[in-house]
């Protein structure tokens, strides 16, 4: 039987308090899930360290130089009929289409890199140093941080699913996120608790 005094005082019933607690648990779990996803996004876009960035520069420079050399009509120099044309590269154009100067520009860039790679690399390194200083991450650091963030996300998703199931068992209306992790949603209760505890 309901306590009539509660009606007069406006105090919430034990059931209402329990429901509010369950809702708070779900809200907290969802906030943890959102935070873990945000952290993963932050880590994925966090700047690399200078060494990693310069490795990317070196890989690009190698490709640009190789592509430029491949573009040069070197065999033309051996043909007495066309040797006078030298290594000029014409803009490529399909019949009826405007000329595409992109290959020529790429070749010019590759040749420029070939001629002054060390100076360009140093200039890039100086710029990177001003830009990111010591704040960048190595590939290993990023992988480790992402692994930890994914573990936190798995635990948060498990805690969220636990909270949803608690609400369902209490007969309270609740909706799962459409992008909830199926690994959590389909997990057994026991496994779900293990996953949630792993992040605690």
């Amino acid at each position: 039987m309901k306590n009539p005094l509660r009606l007069l005082t406006g105090a919430p019933s034990p059931a209402a308090r329990a429901a509010a607690t369950l809702r708070r648990d779900l809200d907290a779990a969802r906030e943890a899930t959102a935070a873990a996803k945000a952290e993963i996004g932050r880590l994925e876009s966090a700047p690399s360290d200078i060494e990693t960035a310069l490795a990317a520069f070196d890989a690009w420079a190698d490709r640009a130089i190789q592509a430029a050399i491949d573009t040069l009509p070197i065999a033309r120099l051996t043909d007495p009929r066309s040797a006078h044309l030298g290594l000029d590269i014409g803009a490529y154009a399909r019949p009826g289409q405007p000329a595409d100067a992109t290959p020529t520009a790429k070749a010019a860039m590759g040749l420029a890199v070939l001629a002054m790679r060390d100076r360009l690399r140093q200039a890039v390194a100086d710029q990177l140093s001003d830009l990111i200083g010591d704040a960048g991450m190595t590939a290993d650091q990023r992988a480790a941080a992402l692994a930890a963030a994914h573990r936190a996300l798995t635990a948060a998703e498990a805690a969220e699913e636990l909270a949803v199931r608690d609400l369902e068992r209490a007969g309270l209306p609740v909706q799962r996120r459409p992008d909830a992790d199926p690994r959590a949603v389909l997990a057994t209760d026991q496994r779900l608790a293990q996953l949630a505890d792993a992040g605690a």
Partner: protein, 129 residues
């Protein structure tokens, strides 16, 4: 019955539950759609009646007709408010049904990918429709 995975343990009954929730959400959406449809009909009917009331003005009966017009307008406003409620519920039910279906299908895809035994428990076609 559950299938053990090196990393996780899953329960096909969870998928059945999700499919059930998706069916419930769809039924709620369809019910809300019917209610909104009825509310639109009621509003149109009352707007028509209010128009007739205004058209039937007779000399010498201004007071009675003013009251009749006010009553008709009040009925229109009540119907408009009811329609707004019904459309809000319809919008919410539509979103809930879409979310429940998306999650059920995502979990069904996942279950099939990991080889969870779900073939006879959940009808994909029913979820998609």
């Amino acid at each position: 019955m559950s299938k053990t995975d090196p990393a996780l343990t899953y329960d096909p009954a969870r998928l059945v539950h999700l499919a059930h929730l998706a069916r419930q959400a769809r039924a709620r959406f369809r019910g809300a759609r019917d209610v909104a449809h009825d509310a639109r009909d009621v509003l149109q009917d009352r707007q028509r009646q209010a128009g007739l009331t205004r058209a039937e003005s007779r000399p010498g009966f201004a007071a009675e007709e003013s009251a009749a017009r006010a009553a008709a307008d009040a009925r229109v406003e009540a119907a408009r408010a009811r329609l707004a409620e019904a459309e809000a519920e319809l919008s919410e039910a539509h979103a809930a049904a879409g979310a429940a279906r998306a999650l059920a299908l995502a979990c069904l895809d996942f279950a099939e990918r990991i080889g969870l035994a779900i073939a006879e428990t959940v009808d994909r076609q029913e979820l998609v429709e």
